[in-house]
Symmetry: C2
Subunit: 303 residues, 2 copies
């Protein structure tokens, strides 16, 4: 940590970095948003150099939108919440980066999403979007479940539902599995059947598979047994994740991600009813995280 | 088809083209092997230009090893058995290629493996190697089952077993799934546990997952319930594939691929006992296929 700017001149930057883009907000001492900026992909798992470049771009854009200059990065206390840094070696690389900020605090995208959802340090979140995972932070303890990525894990996520759907449709097409209503729904959505589905999905990313999640819900709601099995297996996994997270006694728990609003209806009732509404966007959690860590350190120095 | 070389000057080339390499043999009118050659990846699904280049390289190498020149390609009746051409658009592209041979006959790698395994046009094969699939050809009918690729299908293959193994081990590590003996076996093989497994498998190919199949068999043989479930599900799928193929009444059925010798012991007994030994390597099937198609066409012209 440097020593040039007086702490009253400091600004706080919150960065939410994911696989396709990163988003930054800049707030002043009074927690007022004075700038915003976007950058490219920022998951170091898919390239460290690219991720750091995206973060700097997003910072510069946020400074520019606040009428400040790139040099003002030296006045910034930055909170970075990045996908991929749950992998220890990547955490270390980004942590040791020769960053351009006054101070940098690094954690996972999951952690800042959790802080943001609850507007406080402690809480728990379950994400069911393209991927899935669970996270809780209580006191000095934190627990991450899942976050293994596609196709290794991510049960109950959109990508997982889409992949299970295609597997079932291909078995149906070979007459080696039960008939499923998803066959017609996939044929409509992809304009393809049987081996042509394989061609259509050549090079497909997890986000492409996630586009098929809605049709799995549709088929399940119509009583299709195979679709029901997929939705129920996904919902059971997320229920199990929630039960494990509640063991840590977080004050609140919220569900995040594009699939969460539909799958929560299939989860155990006692668990679904205890879910709270997420309060803020993840980048606000990154600001909160950086600020609270920074102020704790200042206090420790002063004592 | 050109008309320059007298048919007694013709040579037959058999090419077995897969995702990592292709292999060619050159035989004379008396079916004697006079040359052999290898080339690079030849699955047009991963790049048409690259596949065609690999095939030409393998042909040139085979001609050279027979003491002939690249120009002698115009004396060749070529049989190409390629992975990936079960996808209709890729079949059409390679079929319409401006090839350098006297004549070209194109089919799938699966078809020539089948012809080779039985030394005759008709038969059935089940492949369980890195991937899995079933194929039968009887009279004018043929049937392909599976061959959907990783991770969409390939149940009962090495890559599928490896992926299911890792999924189970990650659930065990999160205490969200049953304990399995595979956890220790994977820790030994990958020198990794929990989230470190995800790091170790970053960018892993289907062949990397297939390397974990042997430890699934080991755990299953020791009575591990999760490993048993994986092996039994794989074996049941391959049994179902075999039953569907027998419906076409092929004269023989054989199992091919690195996993087949272990998984056959877990398949239904009546099906396992009816498996025959494969007689020849796939490239011989490509020669047989090209020659029989060419001679049929010659006869048709003569009549």
């Amino acid at each position: 940590m440097g020593s040039q700017p007086a702490t009253e001149n400091l600004l706080y930057l919150g960065v939410d970095g994911g696989g396709t883009k990163c988003r930054a907000i800049l707030v002043d001492q009074n927690n007022q948003v004075i700038g915003e900026g976007n950058g490219g992909p920022a998951n170091p798992y898919h390239g460290v150099a690219r991720a750091l470049e995206s973060i700097v771009n997003a910072s510069d854009n946020a400074l520019r939108s606040a009428g400040l200059k790139p040099e003002d990065k030296s006045r910034i206390v930055a909170g970075l919440g990045l996908a991929g840094v749950n992998v220890p070696s990547l955490y270390t690389i980004v942590k040791q980066w020769d960053h351009p900020y006054y101070a940098q605090y690094l954690t996972t995208d999951l952690h800042i999403a959790c802080v943001a959802a609850h507007s406080q340090d402690d809480g728990a979140v379950i994400v069911s979007g393209t991927g899935s995972c669970g996270f809780a932070h209580v006191g000095n303890e934190s627990l991450t479940l899942g976050a293994h990525g596609f196709p290794l894990g991510d049960i109950g996520s959109g990508a997982w539902m889409g992949l299970e759907c295609i597997k079932a449709v291909l078995l149906d097409s070979d007459e080696l599995g039960p008939k499923t209503a998803m066959t017609e729904l996939v044929a409509e959505q992809l304009q393809a059947r049987g081996i042509m589905i394989v061609e259509r999905l050549s090079g497909a990313k997890s986000s492409d598979y996630a586009k098929m999640a809605p049709l799995v819900f549709t088929a399940a709601e119509q009583g299709d047994e195979i679709a029901l099995k997929i939705v129920q297996e996904g919902a059971k996994y997320l229920t199990d994740v929630a039960r494990r997270l509640w063991e840590l006694n977080p004050p609140r728990m919220a569900m995040l991600g594009g699939v969460s609003q539909r799958i929560v209806d299939w989860m155990d009732k006692d668990i679904a009813e205890k879910m709270s509404k997420p309060l803020n966007q993840p980048e606000f959690g990154a600001v909160h995280y950086a600020r609270s860590r920074f102020e704790t350190e200042l206090k420790a120095v002063a004592e």
